[in-house]
Symmetry: C2
C-alpha cells in the first residue's frame, strides 16, 4: 500500500522510519502501567549505558492515547493493549505493520501482565510455553469470511528459555515456564463465582481448575491464545510473562496487601528488562 | 456477598448508594469520547431542566481510569468499554452488580459506537435488532468450565422502536433498525484486506459482505453479540446505536473528511439523548 493510516495507534506509514531501531516490543493491558514501565525502562537502560535518555527528557506518549498509549525508549517500543484478545489483536496488527514498514530487524514481542495462578505460589511469574483456550485446547479460533479458522498457540521455546535464564540469579522470585489459559471473560469464562451471572457452583469450579492444572495450565488471563497464534502466524518471536496474583486452587479472594500486589505487578517488567539488558550487552 | 470490590471500575459495594437514581447507562469504546459525551449530557439535561448541574461543576471521572473512565450526570451513568467483547464483558458484569447493589430501577443500557456499514448510507445510525456472530449466526458462545455455552443475541424490540421514534423529526440523519455483526477481530474478522495477516482476496471479501447483507446485517462492529447476550441473560433492556462511517459494499477506504467523521461520531449520542430526554419528560 502507498499510504497506510494505522487508525487505532494514530500513526501512518510515513512515521515508520522513527521505529527502525526497535528490537523489543513490550505490551500490557493498562495504559497507566505501561507508562510507569516506560519510565523504568528509561531509567534502567540509561543507567546501564544502553539507551540515550538526556537529562530533562522523559518518555511521553507517541500519537493518539484514546485507544492505546505508546512509548519508545531507544530499542524498546511499548504500548498498552487494553483487555482481551480482540483489543490486543488490533494493536498487534498495527504494530506489526508499523515495524514491518520501519524495517525493524526481527523484533521480539513480550506481553507483560497479571493473571490468576493455578497451582503456583502467588508472586510467581509464569513464562507461557503455550496458550490454551477455554476448552483447554492449544488453539485459537476466529471466524473469517463466515468460516472458522484455527491456528496453533505455541510460543517460541528458545526465547522462553533465554528469558527464564536471564532472570536466574537476577530476580528474587520464581520465573516458571507453564501453559496459560486465555479466556474471553473474566468472570464466567474463568470459573469465577462472583460475576453478575453465574451458572455454576464452587465444586464445579474446583473440578475444572484441577482439570486445567492437570493439563499443564499454570495461570489464566485473557490474551494468551490470540497473542501466541498471531505472532506464530506472522513469524515473530514472542513471550508472555504474567505474574500470578493468587493461586486459584486456594480460593478466589486476593488476601495479599495492596503494597505487595503493586510490587508483584512490576515483576513481569523486571523479567523483560533482565532479558533486554542481557541481549543489548551481547 | 458482604463486600464486593468491583476491581476494574475501582468501586465497591459501599459506593452503590450514589448510583440509586441511575435510569440510563451509556457506554462506548473510547475514554475520550465518553468524556466528551458526558459534557454534552451535562449541558443538554441542564438546559432542559432535567438534571442539576450547578455552574462551575463539570462531569469528572469517578474512581479508577486505567481500565474504564466512568461519569455520572443525574440519572445518566456513562463509562467507556474499551475494544471488543471481553473488555465490554468485564464492564457489564461490574456495572450490573453496582446498579443491582444500588437498587437502580430497571435501568436501560445503551452502547454508542462507530461501525462499518453494510449497504447503508455513511452517516446512518443503525439501531441493532439482533447481533450476529462472524458465522452470521444469532448467538454468542463462550467456553465456561471447559464447555461451550451459547446464548441468544436479540435486543429489546420495544426499546429499539422507542429509540428510533424519539429521533424522528429530531435528528437530521437516518436511524435505521438492522442486524449487527459483532466480530473478535477488526482486520481478518471483518474481511479487511489491510491487516498484518490476510489470507483472502477482494472478491471473497465482497462475496462475504454481500452474504452478510442478505442475512440482514447493516453494520459490523466488535461488541454486539456479547452485549446482546449478556443484557438478555440478566434481563436488562438494552440497545446498540452505532454510526456507519462507510459503506463496506462500496469499498474499505474512508474518503469522508475528518470534520464530517467527527460530527458523525456524535450521532449515536444524539440519538441516545433524544430518547433520554423523551423518557425524563414523561
Amino acid at each position: 500500500m502507498d499510504g497506510d493510516y494505522l487508525y487505532h495507534l494514530g500513526l501512518t506509514k510515513d512515521d515508520a522510519p522513527q521505529f527502525s531501531d526497535v528490537k523489543f516490543f513490550c505490551t500490557g493491558g493498562s495504559a497507566l502501567r505501561i507508562g510507569e514501565f516506560a519510565q523504568v525502562v528509561a531509567d534502567e537502560l540509561s543507567a546501564a549505558g544502553l539507551a540515550d535518555v538526556p537529562f530533562g527528557l522523559r518518555p511521553t506518549p507517541i500519537a493518539k492515547t484514546d485507544r492505546f498509549s505508546t512509548y519508545k525508549v531507544g530499542p524498546v517500543l511499548m504500548s498498552n493493549h487494553g483487555m482481551g484478545m480482540p483489543s490486543v489483536s488490533i494493536l498487534l496488527h498495527e504494530i506489526t505493520k508499523l515495524l514491518h514498514y520501519a524495517g525493524a530487524d526481527d523484533p521480539v514481542y513480550m506481553r507483560l501482565g497479571s493473571s490468576g495462578g493455578v497451582g503456583v505460589e502467588p508472586g510467581t511469574v509464569v513464562a507461557t510455553t503455550q496458550g490454551l483456550n477455554g476448552l483447554l485446547e492449544p488453539e485459537f479460533t476466529l471466524p473469517m469470511l463466515g468460516k472458522t479458522v484455527t491456528r496453533p498457540t505455541d510460543l517460541d521455546a528458545g526465547l522462553n528459555a533465554e528469558i527464564v535464564a536471564a532472570s536466574e540469579g537476577a530476580a528474587d522470585f520464581a520465573v516458571l515456564p507453564g501453559k496459560t489459559m486465555g479466556t474471553d471473560c473474566f468472570y464466567e469464562g474463568q470459573a469465577r463465582l462472583d460475576g453478575a451471572v453465574c451458572e455454576h457452583e464452587e465444586q464445579e469450579k474446583m473440578n475444572f481448575l484441577r482439570r486445567a492444572h492437570e493439563a499443564g495450565v499454570r495461570n489464566i488471563e485473557m490474551e494468551a491464545t490470540q497473542f501466541a497464534a498471531f505472532t506464530g502466524r506472522v513469524g515473530v518471536r514472542a513471550a508472555i510473562l504474567c505474574v500470578a496474583l493468587l493461586n486459584r486452587l486456594d480460593g478466589d479472594q486476593v488476601l495479599t496487601p495492596v503494597e505487595t500486589l503493586m510490587e508483584w505487578d512490576t515483576r513481569p517488567g523486571e523479567v523483560a528488562l533482565n532479558y533486554i539488558k542481557a541481549e543489548l550487552r551481547k
